[in-house]
Structures are given as C-alpha cells and as structure tokens.
C-alpha cells in the first residue's frame, strides 16, 4: 500500500526530535514536495520555538523579594510545626533558623506552662 502524506504527519514532526524515518517514509518524502515542505516547516518552527528560551519575561522588580518573603513565612510555619511535634525543623540556616529560635523560645514558654499545669 502506498504511503500517503497524512500517514506521515506524526513521523515528520517526530523526526525533528531525532527519530529516524523508516525506509518507506524516506522513499515517500524524497519524492513528495509537500512532505519536504512540511518537514522544513517543522524544523523552522522548532528553531523559532527554541529561541524563545532566551526571551525572559519581565516579572516586575518585587518577584524575587516576594518569593523570599514567602520562603521565610513557610520556614516559620514549618519551624512552629516541627517544634510542636518535637521534630527538628526542616529549614536551612540563617534568618530562618533565627526565626525558628525565636519561635522556639515561645514554644518553650508554652511547654513550661504546660508542665506547671501537669504538676498540679
């Protein structure tokens, strides 16, 4: 059965990923101007798509600061949970640890207060 152009649509696009065309497909493409044009257009499309990688959208000046503030908050929440459950906080050093220590001081007060309740 002869190969039709429609049968090749997917293999033409996949061939730009390095998937080899089989012999029948190759024979068809060699003699079909339409498939040759389609293959060339896929290659061009993928080349242009690739150039988008270097286009960086402008996120606004506060994005990194907002992300860091979010991390800080999450670190504090995690530290509170960890202290209350008796596990080591899953945060890295620096200010996050400092906040954990501050929260820890509060937690210790709570625990001491509980101890006093418990001893009555």
């Amino acid at each position: 059965m002869p190969v039709r152009c429609d049968d090749l649509a997917r293999v033409l696009s996949a061939s730009t990923d390095g998937e080899a065309l089989d012999e029948r497909a190759n024979l068809h493409v060699e003699s079909c101007l339409r498939c040759q044009a389609e293959l060339a257009q896929y290659r061009k499309l993928i080349k242009v798509l690739h150039t988008l990688r270097t286009e960086v959208l402008s996120p606004g000046p506060s994005l990194a600061a907002d992300i860091l503030a979010g991390l800080e908050q999450a670190g504090e929440r995690s530290a509170v949970r960890s202290l209350l459950s008796g596990r080591r906080p899953a945060v890295l050093g620096g200010a996050a640890m400092a906040s954990a220590a501050a929260v820890g001081a509060g937690a210790i007060l709570v625990l001491r207060s509980r101890e006093r309740h418990g001893s009555r």
């Binding site: 649509a9 997917r10 696009s13 996949a14 990923d17 339409r34 044009a37 389609e38 257009q41 896929y42 061009k44 499309l45 993928i46 242009v48 798509l49 690739h50 150039t51 988008l52 990688r53 270097t54 286009e55 960086v56 959208l57 402008s58 996120p59 994005l63 990194a64 907002d66 992300i67 860091l68 979010g70 991390l71 999450a74 899953a90 890295l92 050093g93 620096g94 200010a95 996050a96 640890m97």
Partner: protein, 206 residues
C-alpha cells in the same frame, strides 16, 4: 560571590559556574546562597511559569510554589543534573498542579501581555525585525493553545526537557506526551506556516 569574566574554556559558561557554586553552598545549608539562587533564576522561572499558565498572577503563584519546593528539596538535588533543568521540572509540576486546580474553577485565560526583552541580539536589523515578528506571532499562537498541549511543546521545544521528564512532571504517559507534542506542533505549524489547502493559507503568505 565574584566570578572572573574570563573567556569560557569549556561549554560551561561563567553563569553556569556561578550557579553551580551557589547550589553547592545552598545544599550545605547556606541560606544566603539560596537567596542568591532565587534572585539569579527568578525571571527565568517566572517566564516558564507564565508560558505554562498564561497569566501573570498564576505565574507568580507557580514560581513561589516552585521555589518553596526547591528550597525543601535542595538536599535531594543531585549535582549530575543541571540546576536549571531540575528547577524547570519542579516548575512544570507546580504549573500542572496549579492548572488542574484552576481549570476546576474557571476557564478563562488572559493573553500574554508582558513586556518581552531579548538579550541576545545577534542578527542584522532586518533579520532581527523579521525574526522578532515571527516570535511575536509564535508567542501569540502559543497562548491560544489549550494548556495541556502548550505545556508539552513549551517544555520540549523551548526548554529542552526530555519526553520522560515531561511525562513524569505532567503525570501522563510518555506516549501521551508525544501525542500531545505532535498535536501542538501541528497546530502551530498550520497557523504559522500553512501549506496550500491548510487553514490560513489564503490569508498568510507561505
């Protein structure tokens, strides 16, 4: 951290080297290094997120979530992969989760209206104008794709992720990822470079 701007000796650029050093320090618990990593990569992460979710507000949420997960998982990051690839995978996964949640609530998608900067001008003005026009059209057509098709073509053809990684982060099979990729490419090709008889062939020159 100061990195000398010497001519690159290998395929690793000074930027990559700087990132590698920051990643090593962050893995050892240096929070300032992680902060610097965020500042160095936030715009690219946001760009990927924006291309996946299609609007600024959701892109910011996805970027935030991606860094939270990167921060928690940095100890598990293996140095054999590129940090940027690792971060792209996390961002893709967060975007897929976010889109899934969003699509249950609403169906509108805002067009891509962010300012775009190209920091790699390397052609003649005429060629640049032509390729910029083509990229603008491509960006607009990408925004028109359904999110599930757009995600696959963006991750594969813009960010070079392997099929297996894309399938894993989007929670679909490799075969399904390849089918979606073909559909996305076909639709984009037909819109941008229509062959005779295809939609748009009359309105746009080949």
């Amino acid at each position: 951290m100061v990195i000398p701007h010497a001519a690159p000796r290998t395929t690793t650029s000074p930027v990559d080297e700087e990132l590698t050093q920051l990643v090593s320090a962050a893995r050892e618990g240096d929070r300032l290094a992680f902060e610097q990593l965020v500042r160095a990569t936030a715009a690219e992460t946001y760009s990927l997120a924006h291309r996946l979710v299609g609007n600024e507000e959701d892109a910011r949420d996805v970027a935030q979530e991606a860094y939270l997960r990167a921060f928690r998982g940095i100890q598990r990051f293996r140095g054999d992969a590129q940090f940027s690839t690792w971060l792209h995978r996390i961002t893709a996964n967060c975007a897929a989760t976010h889109l899934g949640r969003r699509l249950r609530h609403r169906h509108d998608e805002l067009p891509d209206d962010d300012a775009v900067t190209d920091d790699h001008p390397r052609h003649s003005p005429e060629l640049m104008a032509e390729s910029n026009a083509l990229r603008d059209r491509l960006t607009a057509e990408l925004a028109e794709l359904p999110p599930r098709l757009r995600a696959v073509v963006v991750l594969r053809d813009v960010y070079d992720l392997p099929h297996e990684a894309i399938a894993a982060e989007l929670g679909i099979s490799v075969a399904a990822a390849k089918v979606r990729l073909h559909r996305a490419r076909k639709r984009l090709r037909e819109r941008l470079f229509p062959l005779p008889g295809e939609d748009g062939a009359d309105a746009r020159a080949l």
